[in-house]
Structure formats: C-alpha cells, structure tokens
C-alpha cells in the first residue's frame, strides 16, 4: 500500500469516525451543518451592523463621548423627515408600477406564450450589463433634446421637448426599468406552479374570467406577490445611484443623503444614525409584509 493510499485510508476512517459521532448527537450535527454560514453571517453582516449601531451613538469620529444627538437632530429636523417621506413615496410608486407591470408580464408569458424560456431570458438579459451604463443610457434617452424628445417631437402630438431628466418621473422610469425582472420572476414562479385546472373549475362553476382571476388566481399567487413586493421595495428604499443620476438635486432620496454623510461630509456617526433608522424602517415593513402575506395566503376570504 503506498503512502497516498494509506493517507486516503486514514482520512476516510477518520471521516467515518466523525460521522458516527455526529449520528448519535443531533445537536452537534446541527452545529456542524449550520455553524459555518452562521459564523459567516455573524462576522460579515451582524458585526458591521453592530459597528454601525455603535457609531450612531458617537459624537464624533471615535474615540468620542457617547451621545443621542445624532438621532435628536434627525427627528427634530424637517429636512430628514421630508427626505424619508419622499423616499417612501417613490418606493411605493415604484413598487406599484413594477409589480403591476411584472405581474401582467408574467401572466401573459405563462398563459399566452409558447416561448416562455426565450422571453424570460430576454427579461433577465439586461442584468448582464452594468447598472451605471444602463442608467447613463436612460440619461441619453430622457435628457432635453434626447432620444425620447426627438421621437416625440417628430409626432404631431408634441411641439415642446418633454425634458424628463432630473424629475421624479425619470426616477420612477429608471427604477421600474431596473427592478422589473425582480417584479416578474416571483410572479412567473407562482403562476407556473398554479394548476390551470383551478381556473377552469372556477369558470365551470359560473365565474367569469375577472371573477375567476380575483377569487382563484390572485389568492393562489399571493405568496409570489409578497415576495415580488419585498424584492422591489427594499432595494428601492435604500437606492442612491438611480436618483442621483436621474433625479438631480430635487429628488434626493435617503440613500443619497447617507452616502454624502459618509463620502462628502465625513460625518460617519450621523450617517450611521440615518442608516440605523432606514434599516429599522425596512425591518418593520418586512415583518408587516411577511405577517400579512402568510395571513392572506392562509385565509384569503372570510369564512362563512
């Protein structure tokens, strides 16, 4: 037996010993399986969050005395409340647009198309191009005298340029474009998982197409809808590149404010406090969505 084979034999026998040990100890087995991902999350995710939390109570770059000033400043100022409110409005509008469009798109692909795979690839394809490059393409399209204006003014409908760039509309267009795949795929998944016999059954029992959609398809795909809303709403809420490039100075969102606190004002404690507030809001919204989501899924209609 060569050295190599002996080494392999040793390794495999110690493997066997380890697996025998683990088989009799379910807790140890669980720890061995989830230990590595938990450690990873603790070090790279929970750790930085705690650092940020700690930073948000500092009065300046550490070492500095602990203070609540950062939070007091945010809460007492109309400026930050205004920015968070605007961010919320844009997030709700984006989520609404992306989920309604995404659901419609997913529905037509699942129900009416024979080339589902091709269409899905086309939807995902833009992801392969850099985000920033795609945003610059939108600048080109939306700017005064840009592609959109040129096309629209060639029609008899418009004589003035639309000049959409640096408006809330531009931000919404950008977000909807960017997040549409995220708003389509969960709906696609839940629609393909749904047995189409259920729709036939609803019609057979006397429900017209709209009634069948509202009473069967919609409640059956509610889980996918909640997932789609979460996937679109959370990145929109924290986003800073799209509003910075397409929104100009009038459409500042909270992500841009946080970024400038860290990168321009170098007021890390204040940026950290803003981040903590944003994270808190997202976690609360997520919990509400998950709770209402499971609720909707379990009893979508009052029992009678």
């Amino acid at each position: 037996m060569s050295n190599n084979e002996r080494a392999v034999g040793r390794v495999s026998s110690s493997f066997r010993k380890a697996s025998d040990t683990l088989r009799d100890r379910p807790r140890l087995r669980l720890a061995a399986i989830v230990g590595i991902p938990v450690a990873f999350l603790a070090f790279f995710f929970i750790g930085p969050l705690l650092v940020m939390l700690w930073f948000s109570f500092q009065s300046g770059m550490p070492p500095a005395p602990t203070t609540l000033d950062n939070y007091i400043q945010i809460i007492s100022s109309d400026l930050y409340f205004g920015i968070i409110w605007r961010t919320t409005v844009i997030t709700v509008q984006t989520t609404l647009l992306a989920t309604v469009l995404g659901y419609t798109l997913a529905y037509s692909i699942v129900r009416f198309s024979r080339r589902a795979t091709l269409l899905l690839v086309l939807i995902i394809l833009p992801f392969w191009t850099n985000y920033i490059i795609r945003m610059y393409a939108w600048i080109n399209i939306l700017q005064s005298g840009g592609v959109l204006d040129t096309i629209m003014m060639a029609t008899p409908l418009y004589s003035e340029p639309l000049s959409l760039l640096y408006s809330q509309t531009a931000v919404l267009i950008g977000f909807t474009y960017i997040w549409l795949p995220l708003g389509t795929l969960p709906f696609y998944a839940s629609l393909t998982n749904m047995d189409t016999d259920l729709i036939d059954a609803a019609k057979d029992l006397g429900a017209g197409p709209l009634k069948a959609f509202a009473t069967v398809t919609l409640p059956m795909t509610m889980n996918g809808i909640v997932v789609g809303i979460i996937l679109v709403a959370i990145p929109t809420f924290g986003s800073f590149i799209t509003p910075a490039l397409l929104g100009g100075t009038d459409n500042v969102m909270i992500g841009m404010t946080i970024e400038s606190q860290f990168m321009e004002a170098f007021n890390w404690p204040f940026g950290a406090a803003l981040s903590v507030i944003v994270s808190f809001m997202v976690v609360v919204a997520l919990l509400v969505a998950l709770l209402s989501g499971t609720d909707l899924f379990d009893k979508p209609e009052e029992s009678q």
Binding site: D195, K203, D204, L205, A207, G208, P219, E301, S303
Partner: protein, 364 residues
C-alpha cells in the same frame, strides 16, 4: 327526453382530428360512460360539452338549447376534474359554496344546501376542513358535492377515480351510483378503464381514434361487439384468424387452423360483408371456452395445444394454452397441469366473427 344531444361533432387541433363526426344522445337521468384508450378523444368530447373547447363543426345541445359558443360559466353543466381541482385556499364549505355564490344564492340557503350536500356525500361536519387535510376519497366526495350542489343538467367526470387504489375506486364507484340514484342528475363519465365503465354505467360509448365505435349497454358491447377492437377492449378476448369457406344463408363455414366449423350467421355483425375465401378475424371469450382431453362433441371447434400456465382464481382456473394459432386463455375448472396436452373446445354460437380489421388510420 335527451338532456345532451351531440350531432356530427368534429374537433380538429391543427392537423390532428381529435373527434370526427360523433353523434349521440344522453337521456335525462342516465349514467353514461365514454370509454376509450388514451388519445381517443373522450376528454375532448367532455370539454366540448363543458364549454372549454369549441367544436370545429357540428352541434351540441344541452336540454334542447344549442350551446356552441356559450362560455363554460354560462352553461348549466358541472365537471369533476381529473385533478379534482379543489380550491386549496378555500375550506370544504367554501369550495362547495363557490358555484352557489356565482349564482347569487343567499348566505342562509347556501349553508343549508352545503350541509345537505355534505350529508349526501357522507362528509357531515367537514365544513371547515381544508382540502389538503382530506384523504383522496374524501377529496373526491368534496369535488362531487361541489359539482352537484349547483343542480346542473349533467355532471361530467374526467376520470376522477383513476388516482385511487382499486379497493377505494370500487367503493367510490358504488357511491357514485348511489348518489346518482338519489339526486337523479345525469352523469357522463369518461374513462379508459373498462372495469369502471362496466360497473357504473347504463350505457357506454366506445371511442376509437376520435370515432364512435359502438354505443350500447355492457351486455351488448360484451356479447355482440361490432369489431375486433370492441371485443378486445371490453373484457378479455382470444383472437385468431380464419377463412370463410362456404355460406349456407343462415349459417356459414369457416376454416380455423385447418378445422372446418359451421357457425350461425348471427355471430357476425355484418354477415353480408363476409365473402367466400375472404379472411376474417374470429374472437372468443375466455369464459365461454372449455379445456378438455376427451373426444370433442360433434360440430364443436377444437384447437389442440399444451398448457403453459395455470393461475388459481378461487372458484375456477385460468389456463393459458399454447396452440398453433397462438396463445389462448381459458377460464374453466379442471385438474390440468402445465405441460398437459389438451384441446380447447369452442361452441360455434359463442364466437364473434369480424371482417378483417382496418388498421387505425390516424394516431394522436
């Protein structure tokens, strides 16, 4: 009075003819099966009656009204789907209430009729259960209750019992018959399983490649099949080839493997189509044959062979006998062993004679 009337209905999907020129009537209160191998067009006929498919040509009338072009939600028929298609997000009571709600039946009447239905299908007290908490048989009952609570003109079944095990399926067959007798609603049941069709239905419509091969009661189809296909599909049959050698008017003589036997012309569905010296298919039922090692009676057809298998069936045996005409299956009593040389005796009046079968022309 006929509750469903199908006239020359044809359905094409692209180049494929799923149903060609089918015509039949179903009487009020009848229990009819549409029977056929998979791909024979039986589900398509059902879906055309339900309104999910529109015939390419022909007429469909339900209770005298032409329904071609009427969408499913405006037809007074209900379907029990193969997958059952119970709404998984609704309780048993809500599932049954679904059709009543669409009709605008009030809440109190709804709950009365739901309870009444649950007692018809023997599921009292199941109102608030969810479909995934029920067994397969219970789900079948809910699906049936959801259909008949609407008091439709006809309930259509798309092989809903196929997924059940044999014992439960036989139990549900008897339940279907009981519920049909209790409610008096017309049932149209589609299946590929001749056992189910023979067990439950008053009449059967046998389909082959989109065409109706034969319509009749179980006895008619079993005793007087119009073709080799029907003989093979309904019950078991042994098939051999033969030649017509002579015709005497009300009898004719055929040559089966060298033996001549004279059979009454009534054993052929279309005696006129048989020509002298023409090839014919002869089929005989395993339970009308006997195994013997004695000298056969005069006039009987005997085919010599060797027992190659014997299966114990309780009250009788199934013998498989290797003959020069092929393997022949016989249900009979007797103490024959594998390897014994025996003869299969066939009574002339128990055979069925068909003109040579035309092969299937189109395949789905």
């Amino acid at each position: 009075m006929s509750i469903v009337s199908i006239q020359d209905v044809r359905k094409e999907f692209g180049d494929i003819v799923a149903v060609s020129d089918a015509s039949f009537d179903i009487k009020d209160g009848e229990f009819v099966s549409i029977l056929g191998p998979s791909g024979s067009g039986k589900s398509t006929i059902l879906r055309m009656i339900a309104g999910f498919e529109t015939p390419t040509s022909g007429a469909i009338a339900i209770d005298g009204d032409d329904v071609v072009g009427v969408p499913p939600f405006n037809r007074n028929v209900n379907m029990v789907f193969q997958s059952l298609a119970l709404f998984p997000h609704l309780t048993v009571a809500e599932n049954i209430a679904y059709g009543l709600k669409q009709q605008g039946v009030g809440k109190e009447e709804r709950s009365e009729r739901i309870d009444e239905m649950l007692s018809v299908v023997h599921l009292e007290g199941y109102n608030d259960r969810m479909p995934d908490e029920l067994s397969g048989g219970e789900q079948q009952r809910v699906a049936l209750a959801r259909a008949i609570v609407n008091e439709p003109k006809i309930v259509l079944f798309d092989e809903p019992l196929a997924s059940l095990d044999r014992k439960l399926r036989q139990h549900m067959q008897r339940e279907l018959q009981r519920i049909q007798a209790e409610t008096g609603i017309t049932f149209l049941y589609v299946t590929h399983d001749q056992e189910v069709a023979l067990a439950v239905s008053d009449r059967m419509i046998l389909l082959r490649d989109g065409e109706i091969e034969q319509i009749g009661t179980a006895e008619q189809l079993y005793d007087s099949p119009v073709s080799k296909f029907v003989a093979d599909f309904i019950g078991d049959a042994n098939d051999v080839e033969a030649q017509v050698v002579d015709s005497q008017g009300d009898t004719f003589t055929i040559d089966v493997g060298g033996d001549h036997v004279t059979v009454p012309s009534s054993v052929a569905q279309r005696p006129d189509a048989l020509s002298i010296d023409g090839s014919v298919d002869v089929s005989f039922r395993p339970d009308l044959l006997s195994v013997t090692n004695e000298k056969p009676e005069n006039g009987q057809l005997t085919i010599g062979g060797t027992v190659i298998n014997r299966i114990y069936k309780g009250d009788e045996m199934t013998f498989v006998i290797e003959t020069e005409l092929g393997e022949i299956t016989v249900h009979d009593e007797g103490a024959f062993d594998i390897g014994d040389d025996v003869a299969v005796a066939v009574a002339p009046e128990s055979v069925n004679v068909f003109e040579k079968a035309t092969p299937a022309t189109h395949v789905e």
